[in-house]
């Protein structure tokens, strides 16, 4: 066991735990944001640099601070380590930089993006970014491409987190999808042929933190905050069959895996469950999904909306011309 202090809060965790995991054990207030790390995808993480933290004391044995910020998802805790996340000016400043870099070429087309409302980049920028942009250069653009018949890749929105590449690598038996080109021309691609055609490919949609990989059967059907998530399961011979059904009225608009409080899928599901089972009768419904993220989705349905006292609808007047 190792004792580690993060933002002044001490916790004891098993050896080999990463700083990020330890921080998550303490709770969301000290957990650094993570855009590329994914618990269920070994070897993910380390790329996006949003989870960087400052280690002011290396360990009990070697108390020297680490010279650079470290990626908390890829750095193991040591006994006696002291870490600064939100309390470290350096980490906060660097993270602000990373957000700016991630948005530099991002199209900011949230109003027409299916991911809006459950997009980690939106959350990240809102919490850690600045309100203004410092660039007026043209943004890098790509054409949209179809990855198989159910998934569309919108490369302009991609933040190159490599999660989908890891899914392709680890979950799906034949890898047909990777990264082409270099630097800011890098592009997620299926190389020559279009189809990622296998039973678990749909999980790429779930792991994508932004709206780069979208479910073609759901595209433009509804803003997510107008849909109601319901937890359900079925007996599936390919996967765990544990899903969330997203309803609008009586219709299931889409099926996704179940996500934990960090927005990560708990267990991956197969394409049959995801794309082919869209009737309530296909499923055993467990009940409304408990959305613990600070999510606009939950605000719409399951929380009692508290209207601020000072402001009632009647107070809102049309703008004077």
């Amino acid at each position: 066991m190792a004792k580690v202090t993060i933002d002044g809060i001490e916790i004891e965790v098993p050896d080999g735990t990463s700083i990020l995991q330890a921080a998550r054990m303490i709770g969301p207030t000290v957990a650094p944001p993570a855009m590329c790390f994914y618990t269920n995808l070994p070897s993910s993480g380390g790329y996006c640099r949003t989870c960087m933290v400052e280690v002011t004391k290396g360990s009990e044995k070697d108390p020297r601070p680490m010279p650079k910020l470290v990626a908390s998802c890829r750095t193991q805790v040591m006994d006696g380590m002291v870490v600064g996340n939100r309390t470290s000016e350096k980490a906060v400043d660097a993270r602000k930089g990373v957000v700016e870099f991630l948005l530099l070429n991002h199209p900011l087309d949230c109003p027409i993006c299916d991911q809006a409302g459950e997009c980690h980049l939106q959350d990240l920028s809102y919490e850690n970014g600045s309100a203004k942009t410092r660039t007026d250069f043209e943004r890098r653009t790509f054409d949209k491409i179809d990855i198989g018949d159910k998934i569309q890749l919108h490369m302009n929105r991609c933040i190159l987190c490599y999660r989908c590449v890891k899914v392709a690598d680890q979950l799906t038996p034949e890898r047909v999808h990777g990264v082409m080109n270099r630097g800011d021309h890098s592009e997620i691609s299926t190389y020559i042929t279009k189809a990622v055609d296998n039973e678990f490919s749909g999980n790429m949609i779930d792991v994508c933190p932004v709206g780069a990989l979208t479910d073609k059967t759901f595209r433009f059907k509804s803003r997510v905050w107008f849909t109601k998530p319901v937890t359900a399961h079925r007996d599936c011979d390919k996967c765990c069959g544990k899903v969330v059904l997203w309803y609008k009225g009586e219709d299931v608009l889409r099926v996704t895996g179940r996500k934990d409080q960090w927005g990560e899928v708990e267990e991956f599901i197969c394409n049959t469950c995801r794309f082919d089972k869209k009737r309530t009768s296909d499923w055993v419904v467990e009940g409304p999904t408990n959305l613990s993220r600070h999510s606009v989705i939950s605000a719409n349905h399951y929380e009692k909306l508290v209207v601020p006292n000072e402001l009632t609808l009647n107070d809102i007047k049309p703008l004077n011309p």
Binding site: G97, G183, H185
Partner: protein, 446 residues
């Protein structure tokens, strides 16, 4: 004449052939090594104080002693011949003219590390050197210096040359290993370090061409003797690739500790500034290291003469110092535009970023766009501060040092030549260079 340990036979005709090389004392270091245990060879290299010639200057003997040695797992020696740093061309010279020196060093080093397979990962553009090396390796096999049971010692070694496909990033040691394994050349996230999990997840040492070649004189003369050459912790000799506005550009072997002034102005080396113009700035260690204005390149901040050594060149930190780096010595005369030079560097790093981590992937492109804008005459004062802020947010925040290498030149150019940037943005029309650049740019576009 300065001391020569690597290029002393540079003028011997046919030194690239086995016979001539052997006649001039070639392969004696291997004979010497075989009389020692492998640990003794490592010890000798440790005593020599040799530091990596690939850029970082990490003590080679120490690197070798970190190599993990689990039972039943092969170990590898990989020679980094990717040499793609702008301003650096010494490895090419060495391999082209003295291929056997590298092979001899590789054998001695592999023996010291207990590696039975060694690779030379060579920059793709050096395809013609691949032939030279392969011919020399062939000769070494024929003469019994490679293969099974070398010279009856019981030690076996196979050696392969592997060309890269044209990426600077494949010079970074873990990207190199990925590429050597046949994958996309993305740097790995460390730890684990190559000494523990390198090529095919086996313990691996990656060393620069010149580092490995230096093992030959070290074994021939003994580590202690070698350590007496040079100055302080910068022992031995170093190949310097001298380029830019000098009378005699080329590759020079210098004894570490040579004053920069002597290197630039003496007849033996660069022979002074071209057309006897004034010196403006020096990039002493390849494009990645900070640029130094004339005064700071000849004298340290404390007024001492600046020497060609790891320590002296970095004296003053990044505020008033630089680095010896890979020894790519770029000299600029008074007519040089620092802004344009910086733009060239920015273009390079933007082009070469592998794109794994956000700060480098996006930041390098952004910095290029800004210097381009300034050169086009549309820059503002705010752009200079923005450049500064971008480099600051890249440095130290990336997976591999390419991010730092892209950030440092920007920081140093602004630190030392801010007025020039300000002149460019406040009075663009008066600067001939902008027009010139504009013309070239338009020509290329058209």
């Amino acid at each position: 004449m300065g001391k020569k340990l690597l290029l002393q036979n540079d003028n011997v005709p046919g030194i690239d052939t086995y016979e001539v090389y052997r006649q001039h004392g070639g392969y004696t270091s291997v004979e010497k090594a075989f009389k020692m245990t492998s640990d003794e060879v490592v010890e000798e290299v440790k005593k020599s104080g040799l530091r990596g010639r690939g850029g970082a200057g990490f003590p080679t003997g120490m690197k070798w002693s970190f190599l993990a040695k689990p039972e039943g797992v092969p170990r590898y020696l990989v020679c980094n011949a990717d040499e793609s740093e702008p301003g650096t061309f010494k490895d090419r010279y060495l391999m082209q003219r003295h291929p056997h020196l590298l092979i001899e060093g590789m054998i001695a080093a592999s023996y010291a590390l207990g590696a039975n397979t060694a690779y030379i990962y060579i920059r793709g553009e050096y395809f013609y050197i691949v032939n030279i090396l392969e011919k020399a390796i062939e000769e070494a096999y024929t003469a019994g210096w490679l293969g099974d049971n070398i010279q009856g010692s019981g030690y076996s070694l196979n050696m392969y040359v592997h060309p890269g496909a044209g990426a600077y990033i494949c010079g970074e040691e873990t990207a190199l290993l990925e590429s050597l394994e046949g994958k996309r050349g993305n740097p790995r996230i460390k730890p684990p370090f190559p000494a523990v999990k390198g090529l095919y997840a086996c313990p691996t040492v990656v060393n620069n061409v010149e580092t490995i070649a230096a093992v030959v004189p070290i074994l021939n003369m003994g580590g202690d003797e070698y350590a007496k050459i040079g100055i302080g912790k910068s022992t031995g000799t170093k190949l310097i690739s001298a380029s830019g506005h000098i009378k005699k550009p080329g590759v020079y072997e210098i004894e570490l500790g040579l004053p920069v002034e002597e290197f630039i102005y003496s007849e033996e080396y660069c022979g002074g500034i071209l057309n006897d113009k004034k010196l403006k700035a020096v990039v002493p260690g390849g494009s990645s290291v900070p640029i130094l204005p004339a005064e700071l390149s000849l004298k340290t901040p404390t007024g001492e003469p600046r020497l060609m050594s790891y320590e002296s060149l970095s004296e003053g930190g990044f505020v008033s110092g630089s680095m010896l780096g890979s020894g790519g010595f770029i000299v600029m005369d008074e007519t040089t535009s620092i802004v344009r030079n910086l733009h060239t560097f920015n273009r390079f790093y933007h082009h070469e970023s592998c794109g794994q981590c956000s700060p480098c992937r996006e930041g390098t492109g952004w910095m290029e766009k800004i210097t381009h804008k300034i050169l086009d005459g549309h820059g503002t004062l705010a752009d200079i501060d923005l450049l500064w802020d971008i480099q600051r947010k890249i440095e130290g925040n990336t997976i591999c040092p390419l991010g730092d290498a892209a950030a440092w030149p920007v920081a140093a150019a602004i630190r030392h030549f801010r007025e020039e940037f300000e002149e460019y943005v406040s009075n663009p029309s008066s600067i001939v260079d902008v027009k010139h650049y504009y013309n070239i740019h338009n020509l290329v576009e058209a």
